[in-house]
Amino acid sequence: MNTSRFFLAGILGVSLLGVAAMPQATGNQVALIKQSSIVFAGTVSQLGATSFTGVPKSAQTAVVRVDSVLKKPSAVSLKKGDNVTVELKDPSAFQQGAQATFYTEGWIFGSGVAVKELGHEFKTSSGETPKPAGADEKTYQHAQEQIGDQELQDRLNSADFVVVGRVTDVHRWNAPKSATTRVSEHDPDWHEAVVEVQSVLKGAQVKGNKVVVRFPGRNDVAWVHSPKFAKNQQGIFCLSKDQASGVPTAMVGGRQVTVYTCLGHGDSLPMSDVPRVRSLLKN
């Protein structure tokens, strides 16, 4: 986010239009929502202050009373009437009593919430409650869906293969004696899933229509977010060449084949996501 552009936009907005600044073009606000973990409308009640101890007070911090919460993680307690500490990008753009929608990321969590401003949108001159993208809730929800698409797009881009398939076999992988094995609480306990490929969404055709996917069977903290597979499971698999187990090949039907992993949260998707993935891969 470009601070000087914010500042300039603020000056132009206030001096020429008589309304408050729009931090970015509406089209870019989807990106702003994506960046933001907490979005709320609020009223600045005190500048150069904090709302709870444990937050470093500075000229950039302000206490903002929450008028409505538009986006937050479920774990975070935040509701209308709460006081939030906001570290502002440009405090000179704000006065006590200013009303705005704040696009923020979490900062410090204590008896209250402290956030860092990524952008803001002042309340319009007509007195409307500011909302993300300057639009209604449907637009906001649409923007949130786009965020999911963007994250999924990133995953698809980083994968070597994306296939639709069915798990035909799951077995424990016993590393060859030549492989270096270490005993650790974080030992992944590698398992292999043989996936019968029904269609390839990204990557070349698969010889023999089967791929071997190595995955951690262990429920250790190191692997808690990695997908675990079961026989007959169907879905989309975002696969990367195995760089984790130390032995990146396996024998399937007497043939040596490349082994893949699928370690990230969200690298395994349900069949219902096939149209969405196909659409994203066309982009």
Binding site: T53, P73, V76, F109, S184, D220, V221, A244
Partner: protein, 483 residues
């Protein structure tokens, strides 16, 4: 008139006493003992398994503390993993995302020595980041209240379970990180990373000298005395069959803070004249990466503590198979001659069945403290024990007594592969993890919750009145040192 004045004086004194007493008894908090749930009020909706706690105290400014657990970044999967920070001696805590690891660490320990004279630092942390590979970062913060992300000073891979201790000496910090370093040759994996310049540079020293089963156990635990004596305890694995490690409990010592020509070789065992005193030979230690002791895994609980004012006295505690029928049994031994000889049998009151997460500490007056968690009648019972006479007589306080079957584990470790105890002035301070049901009968010494909790209905809420499921939370405690 005088009688009337005296009456009012007595009345007001009594009223003041009752007010203070009433305040102290809020949530049943016992006098001088503090137990605090670390989850902040603004995260009342969280249901994470916040297990494996650790604690660092700024010893010259002990109001400042940092605690950690497997707590994920609460607002971003790509943001930094957080720690808990207190600036009021543990009464309140905030969560601040300052570690160099993305989202959540898969091991974290830390210490706050005072050599560099940063009143809100220096926090030195060893963190493991878990992705396709596991990476150790050794990092520093000069001001834990600033919310700035810690500065990574050293990074390397293929190591396990970093355990950080530190000591401030002559305007600098000496840092000792016990690690199980799979990069070491010949299976001599028990290692100490030593920095004598505040973490700017590290040297790695293998402290294993005997033949191993390909590697040592994960736990490598340093302990430091003010006179530069450094002890390190580790499990020298001699055989391993997948479920049992036949292990020596070994202690090494260095008298110059690890800075001499042959570091950590001051102690030699009389049996083979090799460096490293074998406290217990060929203990049978169960190894299970699945729920074994209740919902907890077992295999590597180990602790060592040195008397800060008399470095000749050192205690070591560990767990093994114990007697027939036991799952995991704790033991504590003591040396009073700088680790040359050790008690032949467990100290009194320290053979504890079906228990784990032993943490030892010694206070300035020589009182030894022992924190542990015992599975008893389907409940996890957290004890802190103190003794002035090597456990011949003990004061045993139960900090928590909570259901062991709920919540269902989200991953392992359930409570942690370790908890932690420190001696600070006239207090023992520590951290443990437990089921967070807001039920006063679960916390015999009383408890304070920061997160929204209704003790009358024994339910958690999200701050807006909506119920929140029970989970594992980290708890801070302090107890006065037995005089």
């Amino acid at each position: 008139m005088k009688a009337l004045a005296a009456f009012w004086l007595r009345f007001l004194t009594l009223a003041a006493f009752m007010m203070i007493a009433g305040f102290a008894l809020v949530r049943g908090q016992s006098s001088g003992i503090r137990v605090v749930n670390l989850i902040p009020a603004s995260l009342s909706g969280e249901t994470n398994q916040d297990s494996e706690p650790f604690l660092a105290v700024q010893t010259v400014n002990p109001q400042i503390m940092v605690a950690s657990a497997f707590t994920p970044n609460p607002f971003s999967t790509s943001g930094n993993a957080p720690v808990y920070v207190s600036e009021d001696a543990g009464a309140t805590w905030v969560l601040s995302a300052i570690t160099p690891v993305q989202r959540m660490t898969c091991d974290i320990t830390h210490a706050m020595p005072t050599g560099e004279n940063h009143p809100r630092g220096d926090l030195h942390a060893g963190t493991l980041a878990c992705a396709a590979s596991i990476t150790l970062d050794e990092s520093e913060s000069n001001d834990v209240s600033s919310s700035a992300v810690m500065n990574v000073q050293s990074t390397r891979g293929n190591v396990d379970q970093p355990f950080v201790r530190a000591l401030g000496i002559s305007n600098t910090d000496r840092i000792y990180v016990g690690v199980n370093d799979f990069n070491q040759p010949n299976g001599h994996t028990a290692t100490v990373d030593v920095s004598v310049d505040g973490g700017a540079t590290y040297k790695s020293f293998s402290i294993e000298t005997r033949k191993t089963a390909g590697q040592d156990g994960p736990s490598v635990r340093p302990a430091i005395a003010a006179d530069n004596t450094v002890y390190v305890a580790f499990f020298g694995w001699r055989k391993f069959n997948g479920t049992v490690a036949t292990s020596d409990v070994v202690v090494v010592r260095d008298d110059k803070g690890g800075t001499g020509p042959n570091p950590f070789q001051a102690l030699k065992d009389p049996s083979d004249k090799l460096p490293g005193r074998i406290v217990v030979k060929r203990a049978s230690i169960p190894w299970s990466n699945a729920p074994t002791l209740g919902q907890e895994r077992v295999g590597s609980t180990l602790s060592i503590a040195v008397d800060p004012n008399n470095s000749s006295t050192v205690y070591v505690g560990w767990a093994d198979h114990g007697s027939k029928g036991d799952i995991y049994t704790l033991h504590v031994r003591r040396s009073t001659d700088r680790g040359v000889t050790w008690s032949k049998t467990d100290l009194p009151h320290t053979t504890i069945r079906n228990a784990t997460n032993i943490a030892l500490a010694v206070a300035n007056n020589g009182t030894v403290g022992m924190l542990y968690q015992q599975l008893s009648a389907s409940r996890w019972v957290t004890h802190v024990v103190q003794s002035r006479d090597a456990f011949a007589t003990v004061q045993d306080l139960i900090l928590a007594n909570v259901p062991a079957n709920t919540p269902v584990q989200q991953f392992l470790p359930y409570l942690g592969d370790y908890d932690y105890l420190l001696a600070v002035g006239n207090e023992f301070r520590g951290v443990f993890c437990a089921n967070n049901t807001p039920d006063l009968t679960n916390f015999p010494q009383g408890v304070t919750y920061q997160r929204a909790a209704d003790f009358s209905t024994k339910t958690l809420t999200d701050g807006s009145g909506n119920p929140v499921a029970i989970s594992i939370d980290p708890f801070y405690f302090s107890v006065p040192v037995k005089p």
